[in-house]
């Protein structure tokens, strides 16, 4: 096994792989009719490719890459709204670096910065608040994006700003939630999924109960997983065992970091600052009910949408006629849903590369296209060409 030295415990990894093989055989799955297991989190997608787990596991398991990469699902309109705010002369727009290269219809934040907008990369929302303290004459806006893992950090930062009575700090809230798109994918008649590897650090915040509906209402297993290779293999084994035994439960492989009840302090801050939006648009997936949050009325003074009149609803109205189709020839939508693999996209590796991303999936190392390009592009293409030859 080529990757042996990278496992925490290579002997154990080998045993787990053997057990996976036996369990898969019990399910009756074949390489032609594989078990389709979705890893929801982009960090897991990255790890699966980094360690070649898709090749180590039996061909009768297909990894379907989920929507758990925040920059990948950010709609172009929201990037446009960022630009709108960032281009105001009084504004210092702060963001995680990951979001800098995500394309909007008028280009990315990176391009806006090159055109002269004051856009600064920060490590933490706390850096944005600190900037607001140091430069009180400017309006500092923090671009809040990410799933439940990053929500507590922006909620706590806003609460701190409120305690200080800051008037030049606001949050452009684009936080999204993991469970709603999973429900949407399960409701999609074109999708067939047999089980899920659940996100680790999102679950560290929210606990395991929010996934119960997946097992209860849809009869699919979900196993919350760590992101080390052995964690992922063990989680896959737990998913496949459930399928083989006809069970559908939410299990926790990552209990050493994920308490079943989540993090109460984090959840309390999130609950105090945010409330669900009726719906939120996901790139490639469309509008999904209750899948995003906005700031509560009590924190309206720190809400960039209210402050600059760049509301989610308003921008959608403005851009209705230019209702944004995906870039011609791109297949980002199908890739984000896990319906096709990145190499099915004609732009993959040609017009669209990590250096010149056309779609957001190519921007972050958590995006399926970037992961394929980095680790599996050549290999996948070779396999593809081979299977095409075999067919003809």
């Amino acid at each position: 096994m080529k990757y042996a030295d990278e496992f925490r415990d290579p002997v154990k990894a080998k045993a787990v792989l053997a057990a996976i093989e036996r369990a898969v055989a019990e399910t009756g799955a074949t390489p032609q009719e594989p078990l389709r297991v979705m890893e929801i989190c982009g960090g897991h997608t990255h790890a699966i490719f980094r360690y070649g787990l898709d090749k180590l596991t039996p061909a009768a398991i297909e990894f379907v890459h989920g929507p758990g990469c925040p920059v990948c699902v950010l709609p172009m309109t929201r990037v446009d709204e960022c630009l709108e705010i960032a281009e105001r002369p009084e504004v210092i727009f702060t963001t995680f670096g990951d979001a800098m290269r995500v394309p909007g219809t008028r280009g990315s934040l990176m391009q806006a910065k090159a055109r002269g907008a004051d856009i600064r990369m920060v490590y933490s929302p706390l850096d944005a608040l600190e900037l607001a303290r140091r430069i009180p004459e400017r309006e500092v806006v923090f671009f809040g994006l990410g799933f439940e893992t990053t929500m507590p950090s922006t909620a706590l930062t806003v609460q701190q700003a409120a305690r200080e009575g800051r008037t030049n700090f606001s949050l452009f809230c684009n936080h999204i939630l993991v469970p709603p798109p999973i429900r949407a994918l399960l409701d999609d008649p074109d999708m067939r999924l047999d089980g899920f590897v659940g996100p680790g650090h999102v679950s560290m915040v929210i606990g395991t109960a929010p996934y119960d509906f997946i097992a209860r209402d849809y009869g699919k297993p979900l196993v919350v997983a760590g992101f080390e290779p052995l964690d992922l293999l063990q989680s896959v084994l737990m998913v496949v065992r459930q399928i083989a035994e006809g069970r559908a439960e939410v299990e926790n492989q990552y209990a050493r970091v994920v308490p079943s009840g989540g993090n109460p302090a984090a959840l309390a801050a999130v609950e105090a600052v945010f409330e669900p939006r009726d719906a939120f648009e996901w790139r490639g997936l469309g509008e999904i009910d209750k899948s995003g949050v906005r700031m509560r009325e009590a924190y309206a003074a720190f809400d960039a949408e209210a402050k600059f009149g760049v509301g989610y609803g308003a921008a959608r109205r403005n851009s209705r006629d230019a209702d944004l189709p995906e870039l011609a020839g791109c297949r980002c939508g199908e890739v984000v849903k896990g319906m096709v693999k990145p190499w099915a996209c004609p732009k993959f590796g040609t017009a669209c590369t990590p250096e010149t991303p056309l779609g957001a999936l190519m921007v972050s190392s958590e995006g399926a296209c970037a992961a394929y390009h980095l680790y599996a592009g050549v290999r996948a293409r070779a396999v593809d060409a081979e299977s095409e030859r075999a067919v003809s």
Binding site: E6, R8, C41, G42, G43, H46, A47, R50, Y51, G68, C69, P70, V71, F96, G97, D98, R120, M121, V122, Y123, S124, P125, L126, D127, E130, L131, R134, I135, G146, F147, T149, T150, P152, S153, L156, Q160, P199, G200, H201, V202, M204, V205, F227, E228, P229, R256, V257, N263, A265, A266, A269, S364, S365, E366
Partner: protein
């Protein structure tokens, strides 16, 4: 974005706002401890290992777990990237006049 990085709490900077200092692979950074304080208050946290996400300690972990997590992050190329982000942010703030 969700991976974070392990760090060891070396100092409580401000007990009231629950700010502490962590050492992340030799780089020091102020982090918020609100999600890990619990009943005992922040003082007992010095020496503890935590998983740090965008400047917030989100979970206490044991030292062995911290070491393994760091190793995995190094292999994924995420450890250096995260530390670079921390450094760059410090630099950016350093240039902003107080």
């Amino acid at each position: 974005m969700c991976l974070g990085i392990p760090g060891q709490i070396v100092e409580i900077a401000d007990a009231e706002t629950l700010m502490g200092v962590v050492d992340v692979s030799g780089v020091r950074r102020k982090v918020n401890l609100a999600c890990v304080v619990g009943e005992g208050g922040p003082d007992g946290l010095v020496g503890e290992w935590v998983l740090v996400h965008v400047g917030f300690a989100m979970s206490r972990i044991d030292p062995a777990e911290a070491a393994e997590t760091l190793r995995a992050l190094e292999q994924l190329g995420e450890a250096m990237e995260e530390i670079e982000k921390i450094r760059a942010a410090e630099e950016m703030l350093g240039e902003a006049a107080p």
